[in-house]
């Protein structure tokens, strides 16, 4: 507006501009040096406290360096100073969006070390809750990822539907997020009256909701523009960088721990591994959407086939695994979550190493954003699906 006022006298300024030799001054006016900027640790799109140092040429990313550890709590050190059972709730605090998966991996690893097996009923309960948690984790991912890219509506939809899963968790074990749902040797809690009905109700409730998410995004022009050919990573690169989970599958590698090395009782269920072809952000979105549908298939089979019986295996009151070591891994919503546990025969683990999928997958960020634009960095951080609680432990 103020410019217009000056229009009457503008011929002066126009003349002065015209007299400038722009060609001669172009170089000193435009700084062509590389620019180094910080993204985070306090940045809404980093999903926590992740700091990414970006080396930029204008808007183009030349390289990145991740600075992590802001949320480091020394989970592995804590484990050495707790008994096996006491450490169990701590694992929930790593990937707090998928606490049930963390607990499943830890309990199964210790069970292997003890050479006991959870009874069938406990296994079914575990599978139902773990797959519900996978859906919840993917919902949270979808909502926040879409929000980062600029689609606000999916956040409300996914959080509305995730609430139904959290309600089931709450009614089962009293907690919504850090559930501590399982115990070494099985489950502590029997299912509440109406558990199966709640789960079945959720399945019928949720099936059309996924279609709703897809209606919002899958063919949305803006979504396609922001995700297609963004953050591309090839299958061999994924393997070389140790990337697992939906990121690996979206790059065309059909690998899922649930199928490759079945744990719990996943071998009893009929489900497929969705894979992508392009390894871009859009394919990773499609893979996760398809995974939610597969999880629903598993839950449906599990809830219909859940047997009667005990829910705790024959685990001694004092857990003292024999001297030895074990590595056990599961397919967490984010990738391969492994526990390497060394026992010295005492009541406390001698060493617990957590192989965190978020930590390893985050390493691929640099490769995925090189040559992309700054705005794509936000999309790629979202699409890797990291939880900083697990990256830093």
């Amino acid at each position: 507006m103020s410019d217009r006022k000056h229009d009457s006298t503008s011929d002066v300024s126009v003349h002065s501009l015209a007299n400038l030799d722009l060609e001669a001054h172009e170089r000193p006016y435009l700084d062509s040096n590389e620019l180094i900027i910080n993204m985070g640790p306090q940045h809404p799109a980093t999903h926590g406290v992740l700091r990414v140092i970006l080396k930029l040429d204008g808007e183009k990313v030349l390289g990145t360096e991740c600075v992590i550890g802001y949320l480091h709590r020394g989970v592995e050190k804590i484990a050495e100073n707790r008994t096996y059972a006491m450490f169990n709730p701590y694992v929930d605090r790593m990937d707090y969006c998928a606490a049930v998966s963390n607990g499943l991996g830890y309990c199964e690893a210790v069970e292997k070390l003890l050479n006991v097996e959870a009874p069938p009923r406990a296994q079914y309960i575990r599978v139902i809750l773990t797959e519900l948690n996978r859906i919840a984790s993917h919902q949270l991912w979808l909502g926040t990822h879409a929000l980062d890219i600029g689609a606000m509506t999916p956040l409300f939809y996914t959080f509305r539907d995730r609430e139904e899963i959290l309600k089931i968790f709450e009614r089962y074990c009293g907690a919504r997020l850090t559930t501590h749902a399982f115990r070494i040797g099985g489950c502590q809690y029997e299912t509440y009256a109406g558990f199966e009905k709640d789960v079945k109700n959720f399945l019928t409730f949720f099936a059309p909701k996924i279609d709703e998410y897809e209606a919002l995004l899958t063919t949305n022009r803006i979504w396609l523009e922001r995700t297609r050919n963004v953050g591309v990573i090839s299958g061999p690169d994924c393997i070389a960088l140790g990337v697992t989970g939906p990121v690996l599958r979206a790059s065309g590698v059909k690998w899922d721990v649930r199928k490759a090395q079945p744990y719990a009782n996943y071998s009893k269920f009929d489900f497929e591994i969705p894979v992508g072809t392009n390894g871009d952000t859009y394919d990773r979105y499609l893979v996760r959407i398809a995974e939610m549908r597969q999880s629903m298939r598993i839950i449906e089979q599990a809830v219909n086939g859940i047997p009667e019986g005990p829910i705790m295996g024959k685990v001694p009151k004092v857990i003292k695994p024999p001297v030895g070591e074990i590595y056990h891994s599961i397919e967490a919503p984010k990738g391969e979550l492994g526990y390497f546990i060394v026992s010295d025969g005492s009541t406390q683990p001698y060493r617990v190493r957590v192989r965190p999928p978020s930590f390893v997958n985050l390493q691929a960020l640099d490769l995925m954003v090189r040559g992309a634009l700054v705005a794509d960095v936000v999309a790629v951080i979202g699409t890797i699906d990291i939880v900083l609680g697990e990256v830093d432990r």
Binding site: I68, G69, H72, G74, E76, K77, I78, N81, K112, L113, N115, E117, P119, P120, R121, E190, T191, Y192, A193, G194, E196, K197, D198, I239, A240, L241, G242, V243, W255, A260, Q261, P262, Y263, N265, S267, E308, G309, P310, G313, K314, P322, V323, G324, E325, I326, Y327, S329, E336, G338, F340, V342, G345, Y350, R351, R353, R355, F359, V360, Q363, R393
Partner: protein, 222 residues
Amino acid sequence: MAEEVKTPTPPPPEGEKKPTAEKPAPASVEPAKPAVPAKPAAPAAKPAAPAKPAGPVPLPWTSPMVEKYRSQYGSGLEPLTYLGQNYLNVDRSLIPDILRLLRDEEQFDYCVDITAVHYPKREKQFDVVWILYSFPRNERVRVKTQITDGASIPSSIAIWPTANWLEREVYDMFGIKFDGHPDLKRILLPDGWKGYPLRKDYGILQQDKEWVQINLGIESGQ
């Protein structure tokens, strides 16, 4: 709270039946490693077993792959299996060769994890552990070696790029140096931190007081 009341209390005979019914289940987990016949060699070399009723003991692990390397490297290589999981105890000097061979010739193309364990009472204080997986074989193997405090180990970034952050974490937590690592610095702890928290002589409440006082401006982080 719906009306559908289930009777969760299991009848005792069922409970008796369950463990036997359960036994096949671990076997269904085992086929994960089909390529390795772990059991046949059980009665062979190690006679330590009879005296120990306390728990399972590591047994020698035999497979065509292992035999080949044994004949090549002799006693520097000790293949064992414990609870159905195979691992190789490898002499420190053979580590670069063995890791390279496992990737190039045995198709262990995915380095799952690199970590370490501290045994302060041993002369060689650290176990360094590589957990490997092969996509084509669908098989896992662990490689372990022992090193003394202060000794370094060759970096395996050239073999598996994922080793970058994993080795940095081992360095951060244990102070084990990896030769040839392009950027060996702390990853989870701040750069100026003193001490290696996952060593056994590092107390759980211990911290780098000086760092905390200078950088956080507080007396103690506790």
